[in-house]
């Protein structure tokens, strides 16, 4: 802490006492103290106070450590706390399971979506349409207007093509898809290293909403959310550093 240039300030003096100066600055301070003996004396007193504090503090430690602070005890307490929590969670899960069972029994519209991981269709689409280096887009990135009108018509909703160029991603194009809930579409982008990031959009069967979620499926990671009209997913290779940023940007685009 302190500028490493400029006149010696209070910060430098404190940092000198605490031995938190870099060697160059330390030399500067030492030179300064040579010609300012009063300051040097003041700092020596401060350092002596610090040493006295340390000694006193050590004396304060004389009271023996209670058993409950031993790590074996802490772990034991922690375990019994988590067993209590686990019981609570289990109780909650039993209720949810019961509810699901009842719901499923009486539901006339049993779909198999309930048993699939969220946005599993987006991950499949990424594997099939985005992962191959050639990138099998149906309508390439130069025909944005055509792509937009086709996808919007297909989904029955206006939809923008997210601009991810500021992350260094190149828009390759997109295609119409059939999702497990109805019409869908995918926009495909390329990272500089050739890896693909895809933005997947689909209509929803039930108008559900959710916050931002993420899921890793093999080597593909998907970030997804549902806004009541459409479901969105941003997918990419799980080792890519850009997927998270892309997902954030896409979420802002579609807000």
């Amino acid at each position: 802490m302190s500028d490493s240039t400029g006149p010696i300030g209070e910060d430098d003096l404190q940092s000198y006492v605490d031995n938190q100066l870099d060697p160059d600055r330390r030399r500067d301070v030492e030179a300064y103290l040579t010609i300012n003996p009063d300051t040097r004396q003041g700092l020596a007193a401060i350092a002596a106070d610090g040493a006295a504090l340390g000694r006193d503090a050590d004396e304060r430690l004389s009271s023996p450590m209670p058993t409950r602070l031993r790590m074996t005890e802490i772990r034991r307490t922690s375990r019994s706390n988590s067993i209590i929590q686990l019981k609570q969670v289990t109780a909650g899960l039993v209720l949810v399971a019961l509810g699901t069972l009842i719901g499923a029994t009486f539901s006339t519209q049993a779909t198999n979506r309930g048993q699939r991981a969220p946005m599993a269709d987006a991950v499949s689409a990424h594997r099939v349409f985005a992962k191959s280096p050639e990138g099998s887009v149906e309508i390439d990135g130069t025909k944005r207007v055509i792509l937009l009108s086709r996808i919007a018509g297909h989904l029955g909703h206006d939809i923008a093509i997210p601009d991810l160029s500021r992350l260094g991603l190149t828009f390759l194009g997109g295609r119409l898809l059939a999702s497990d809930e109805g019409p869908g579409g995918i926009f495909v982008y390329a990272e500089n290293n050739g890896q693909r990031i895809a933005v997947y959009v689909k209509t929803l069967a039930d108008g559900r909403r959710s916050l931002f979620g993420s899921r890793q499926d093999g080597d593909v990671i998907a970030y997804y959310w549902f806004d009541g009209r459409l479901g969105y997913a941003v997918t990419g290779q799980s080792d890519s550093t850009l997927v998270t940023h892309a997902a954030e940007l896409v979420r802002v685009t579609y807000q």
């Binding site: 938190q20 106070d49 000694r55 602070l69 988590s82």
Partner: protein, 171 residues
């Protein structure tokens, strides 16, 4: 950092945590309660450590956060350490004669306003870096520095040892 923190690694820091907790609470039982809570939180949140880096400042931060949260709950009228850097806080007990009764540097430390005392203690006794203290206390580096500087000069006035020949009076 992906493996669990070992018990011996944590145990090494317990004396320092107790020391700090005592100075916050001034009560041995409460201090040990605080340390116990901090350790419980630490073992259940060890994964957090990946972002924080080293164990020692992380433990201090957990403990200090629990202390502050507990105080907010129990004494809603007396909350909040002053966070502004400019105001000069009065010394807790302001009689001149108190100086005579100071038995040790520690007595002096305990008379400092809490915001200065905490910073001084973390730096001078526990040997944490300014950056670490800034994170633990949750104030900018510049504030840490000014609290440290003011705390030290106030402590100096309180102790006013003949060694330096200073006879500045405490008001």
């Amino acid at each position: 950092m992906f493996s669990r923190i070992s018990d011996s690694e944590l145990e090494r820091h317990i004396p320092a945590l107790r020391r700090f907790a005592w100075s916050l609470t001034r009560d041995h039982d409460q201090a040990d309660d605080l340390v116990q809570d901090a350790l419980l939180k630490a073992v259940s949140r060890w994964a957090q450590l990946r972002q924080t880096g080293s164990v020692r400042p992380w433990l201090f931060q957990i403990l200090f956060n629990i202390f502050r949260a507990g105080r907010r709950k129990s004494r809603p009228d007396e909350i909040d350490m002053p966070t502004d850097t400019d105001r000069d806080h009065p010394i807790a007990t302001g009689h001149l004669d108190d100086r005579i009764a100071l038995r040790s540097a520690l007595d002096g430390l305990l008379r400092l306003p809490e915001d200065q005392r905490v910073v001084l203690e973390l730096v001078a006794i526990e040997g944490l870096t300014y950056d670490e203290v800034s994170r633990i206390v949750g104030v900018p580096l510049g504030t840490v520095m000014s609290r440290l500087s003011r705390g030290r000069s106030k402590l100096r006035e309180l102790l006013d040892t003949p060694a330096t020949g200073q006879l500045r009076r405490v008001k």
